[in-house]
């Protein structure tokens, strides 16, 4: 029974990881129709940033790494958008293949620079261990990741609702042509969206060093799950991404608890397909007049 109760925070923390890795994707995919297969490699860039900083900064490097990784991954994303992706608007399938090509190059680059073996990122002392609350075990690193995910959602929510850039972004998501007609520089909005999306991947990468391996293949472990969240949540919708991450997180947690890890993964996939039968547009769909 205690184990069953324990699964609750575990489901939440799985959801937090899913949300962190998928948050950036949902906007680049939703607004720009760009299926960014290199998103996982931006997560990797964030993780390696944390690795490099711990040598330079020491003890509390993780906190420093969060904004730095956002900047590094974000700028890399900007570069990718500016140099390649902007030539590909209206060709989502081509961007998928294009970014996959980019992801292969980034992986091999990481292997050549940092070596094939995993590197070690030491967690600061205050993130080691855990506490028992009402008989439920809460590891510190999981609490931290969950809080970070909540913070990211809050930040993105505020950005979309309050800042003019965010409002422009929403306008482009909802109707690109109309936004362009209203004088919004859609090209500039696209670039800032890509910066934000890739930056969030960098932040996720830093957080994942607490619970997972840091190596050249890091991105490949998360990319399929991230896309499932985006597809289930609905394109470009913050609320959809949160709901989908929570649903998949708890589903994963409890299914694995009752069956095993392999079966849980397969069942989650089946659940997503079944769900798309009912709501092909994902949980939170844009209202529109499209026939699609």
């Amino acid at each position: 029974m205690a184990a069953l109760a324990n699964q609750l925070p575990i489901g939440l923390s799985i959801a937090a990881v899913l949300l962190l890795i998928a948050l950036g994707l949902t906007f680049t995919f939703g607004q720009m129709g760009v299926v960014n297969m290199a998103h996982g490699e931006f997560i990797m860039v964030g993780a390696y940033t944390a690795y490099l900083l711990q040598g330079a900064v020491g003890g509390q490097s993780l906190l420093v790494a969060l904004p730095v990784a956002f900047a590094v991954a974000g700028l890399l994303g900007l570069l990718l958008e500016w140099s390649l992706i902007r030539r590909f608007y209206g060709r989502p399938l081509d961007t998928l293949l294009l970014t996959w090509g980019v992801s292969l190059v980034l992986q091999q680059l990481a292997r050549d620079v940092f070596g094939a073996p995993n590197v070690q990122v030491t967690a600061p002392a205050w993130l080691v261990g855990g506490v028992d609350v009402l008989g439920v075990r809460l590891p510190h690193n999981r609490v931290f990741i969950t809080a970070l995910a909540a913070l990211c959602v809050l930040g993105v929510g505020l950005y979309l609702a309050k800042l003019p850039q965010g409002r422009r972004m929403r306008a482009v998501v909802q109707n690109r042509e109309l936004a362009a007609c209203s004088g919004i520089a859609t090209g500039r909005v696209d670039r800032s969206t890509f910066l934000l999306g890739s930056g969030l991947a960098g932040v996720a990468g830093v957080a994942l060093t607490l619970v997972g391996p840091v190596g050249p293949g890091l991105g490949t472990f998360y990319i399929v799950d991230a896309f499932l969240v985006v597809v289930a949540g609905g394109l470009g919708r913050l609320r959809g991404a949160v709901l989908a991450a929570l649903a998949l997180g708890f589903l994963n947690g409890y299914l694995e608890f009752w069956t095993d890890a392999s079966l849980a993964k397969v069942l989650v996939f089946v659940a997503v397909i079944a769900f798309l039968q009912i709501r092909p547009q994902g949980m939170v769909a844009l209202r529109g007049r499209s026939l699609g």
Binding site: F29, G33, V35, L84, R87, F88, G90, R91, P92, L93, D94, L96, L97, L98, W100, G101, V102, S103, L104, V105, Q107, Q108, R111, D112, T220, V224, F227, L228, V230, V231, D260, S262, L263, K265, V266, F269, V270, V272, I273, L276, Q277, P280, L291, G292
Partner: protein, 346 residues
Amino acid sequence: MSGRISLVLCVVLLAVAPLVLSPFRLGLLAKYLCFAIVAVGIALAWGRGGMLTLGQGVFFGLGGYAMGMHLKLREAGPAGLPDFMVWSGVEELPALWKPSANPVFALAAVVVLPGLVAFLLGLLVFRQRVRGAYFAILSQALAAAFVILLVGRQGLTGGTNGLTNFSRFFALDLTDPGGRRVVYAITAAALVLTYLAVKLVVRSRFGALLVAVRDHEDRVRFLGYDPALVKTITFAASAVVAGLAGALFVPVVGIISPALLGVVPSLELLVGVALGGRFSLAGAVAGAIAVNYAKTLFSEDFPEGWLYLQGGLFVLVLVFAPRGLAGVVEAARDRFRRRPREEVAG
């Protein structure tokens, strides 16, 4: 007319290959031809139908396993069990394996099983008008789930090891170069026949309808056609082709394992098609052969460079020649003949 001459020349080349290549190189060529067969199916679904399938490995695998299971049973030990079941602690042949002992059933399963799975999946997905990138991602998740399922049922499927150690392909002795030459010939013939069959489809009324669905699904629907059905049938056809290739891969390479069917191998199947030109069947075939040949070459002399080349190829082709090499050739020829080029939607 010159097209027909080229086709004949290609067939002649394929026929001459066994005379000039060593058995080892001939085996490699046969492997490339398997991938070329898959490429024909992908060119149909992706180039003609606009369905980017990132899960083609699943159908390749279904065909491969259907064939592998039968061959394994033919060589089974005294207890009638394949070798991996013995060391996995399985004592009785699972019910799922029993029909595979029948060669007619096995050969039928090679094409029917992938086709059926693709048809059912297509019905579910296309009816709900899931398309474009959504479809691509779902097909990718399918590949991921399929691999997990295969690996997790070791006693039934051989797990990560897959099915290996085949010494005979029906009456042919695979340990003998002569037997392997026949396997090559079968593969080459299968490629030519698949190519011609798909070509017929593309040129038929159905092929025209398919392109119409790709370019404007809604208009086709208003004209009274069922685009979902058109796409489902095409998707199933490309799966059948992939299954056939998977089945031939088993005697050619001597192994079928989950490592060949996952997310990454499924994407790799696309590289050649993109390079050669997805709108052109011949381009896709040439691209698949060229890319796999390059992979062999690179991994023999420069293993670390392969990912750079593969990734770089994708980027360069998509940026500079989205219609692939076939597009380049065609543009050059059009310029030569001063004929306006047709518009093609991505």
